[in-house]
Point group: C2
Chain length 341, copies 2
């Protein structure tokens, strides 16, 4: 995009080595634009960032109550997890409450993204299954929703299935952007993903964080999901992950969610704002740095992990510092730490 | 960089999802620029792309002969390998010929980059060691060079060590660009890396591929290394890797090498050309797509893997096609395949 702005850059030997460009926007729950950099109106695929929006019907339609889902399960329904044992246990439990198991999942199988967990699993001689898929909690949520509302969950990932029709309606309501066949793609876990303006994605998070602009059922569900996420940041991502570390520091004042291909979103309930970032090249490291900068600046928040992700040292395999990754000064302003940490 | 050009883009649901920008240059062995797109004069860190240049002294100073290093070992000295058992075996053998073992390596330890090999290693209950580091072959080469020439290899990664001084002189001779303290950084494996113009990096590969512009010893060493690489493409990278797959198809007519942070280089000996690409954001997938395009266009080469990396389908965890990754039409011209494969 011709009008993309610098989001973050890496250095080595005191020189810039790589640069990431993209767009970022901060809006309030009425859709007022508080900050915009780059093209924030062209459609982008939100990917996994909207999992919390997709969990609203799980609560609003009574499935969470029917199956007495604990907050950890609600958080996992909003998660891109690392396939660590605790994640797998909660996903297994969610499915078990419907009388089903991992064979009901249609997300596909991959080994745990947490490499230590993958090696530990391999050491047992077992194979990965769909429970280890980073989206298994969201999919378990879909199955809970289907079973609780009398819908056959089979083929729940298909666009024409009632569950995915519910998702399209919910996402339209929360973001204000249409979710139709025209702007639909297929996500990594087989469900649809719809391309929407970055500003609409940010608006969705301003609404999710405040309830303003949502109907009463969605507003109540958002309140419950915010608590579940804020009290279970490990469930939302996992060891060493931005979302887990930053939310351990500052939730519920910032609720963050990464998405594939360099998308990051943040709800700032205390400030009544939503943030959406797209790193044009798909680089998540830059989207994280930009998100940390905007959380500090517009969330008026500070913490060790916010500082770390805004400006952090890069080390080689011997632990030697070789450079740094830092958010663009244009985003961070005076909040950029004086040195990497 | 304001004048970066589109290198490659990904699509999803028929829309562009992500875009990668950067620079690319094709030069002949006299330094004549055949093609240039973007900023090809500002310094970039070549990272692992110059390993073959760093292996020239290993041959030219007699270490390869003294230790009777087979071609597989010479190829591994030029490699960023995946830590697969065959790579580890050759690195172990190289060190053994000097009477040393993995404890002499100063590259640091990481688990095999090939995930199946990492899991297989974990299943044995063993831990990773420096032999699994993707640079262990290069480092074993440094140790062979030191031992063969009567230099104590200890601290061979430090800039002031005689081996690294030899590397700086060799890289200066091959690329024509100065390698001094001023443009020096530290690489991931602890040795220095020097930022040089992208055009100088390409010139080095035109010279390496032809011998033109090299002194007699380096020219002879380059001939031997080209044969070693062309006949051992698996040693240079590993399972599923661009360098291995493309060279299995078209070596010795194209000798390719990836580097960290989105750098790709190619020698086209038959055409007498060298190629260097920097994806500004560090994205290797885009540098690979661009390299495939320029190999087709300026190397006058075609193969299944060249077509695949130029324009390939992207699949989700269920194997469903969700989009494609394609080189920019501005780079590929008429060589861009009509559809992804």
């Amino acid at each position: 995009m011709a009008d993309d702005v610098l989001l973050a850059e890496t250095t080595r030997g005191g020189r810039v080595e790589s640069r990431h460009y993209g767009a970022a926007v901060v809006v309030d729950a009425q859709g007022g634009v508080v900050f915009a950099a780059g093209d924030v109106t062209s459609p982008v695929f939100p990917r996994s960032t909207v999992k919390a929006f997709m969990a609203l019907p799980l609560v609003a339609q009574g499935a969470a109550d029917k199956y007495a889902l604990p907050d950890a399960a609600l958080a996992l329904a909003c998660a891109s997890h690392q396939g660590e044992p605790a994640h797998v246990a909660v996903a297994t439990d969610m499915l078990g409450r419907t009388g089903r198991d991992y064979t009901a999942l249609e997300c596909g199988t991959h080994w745990p993204l947490d490499t230590a967990s993958a090696r530990a699993l391999a050491a047992t001689g077992e194979e990965a299954c769909a429970l280890h898929n980073c989206c298994s909690g969201k999919h378990a949520g879909f199955i809970c929703l289907a079973c609780a509302t009398g819908v056959n969950p089979e083929h729940y990932t298909r666009p024409e299935h009632p569950i995915m029709q519910t998702m399209a309606r919910t996402l339209t309501a929360v973001t204000g952007a249409p979710h139709t066949e025209e702007n639909r793609g297929v996500d990594g876990c087989a469900i649809p993903t719809w391309a929407i303006p970055l500003s609409a994605l940010a608006l969705g998070f301003a609404r999710f964080g405040t309830g303003v602009g949502l109907d009463a059922e969605h507003a109540a569900a958002a309140t419950r999901l915010r608590t579940a996420i804020a009290t279970n940041p490990f469930m939302v991502a996992g060891s060493g992950q931005f979302d887990t570390l930053v939310m351990q520091d500052v939730a519920p004042h910032a609720l963050t969610k990464m998405g594939a291909e360099g998308v990051m979103t943040v709800a700032l309930p205390t400030q009544g704002l939503g943030i959406a970032i797209k790193c044009r090249d798909g680089g998540i490291r830059a989207a994280e740095a930009a998100a940390a900068a905007l959380i500090a600046r517009f969330g008026k928040l500070d913490s060790p992990n916010i500082q770390h992700f805004m400006r952090r040292t890069l080390k080689n395999w011997n632990g030697q510092i070789v450079g740094e990754l830092r958010a663009a000064a244009e985003l961070a302003g005076a909040h950029l730490p004086a040195q990497a940490n």
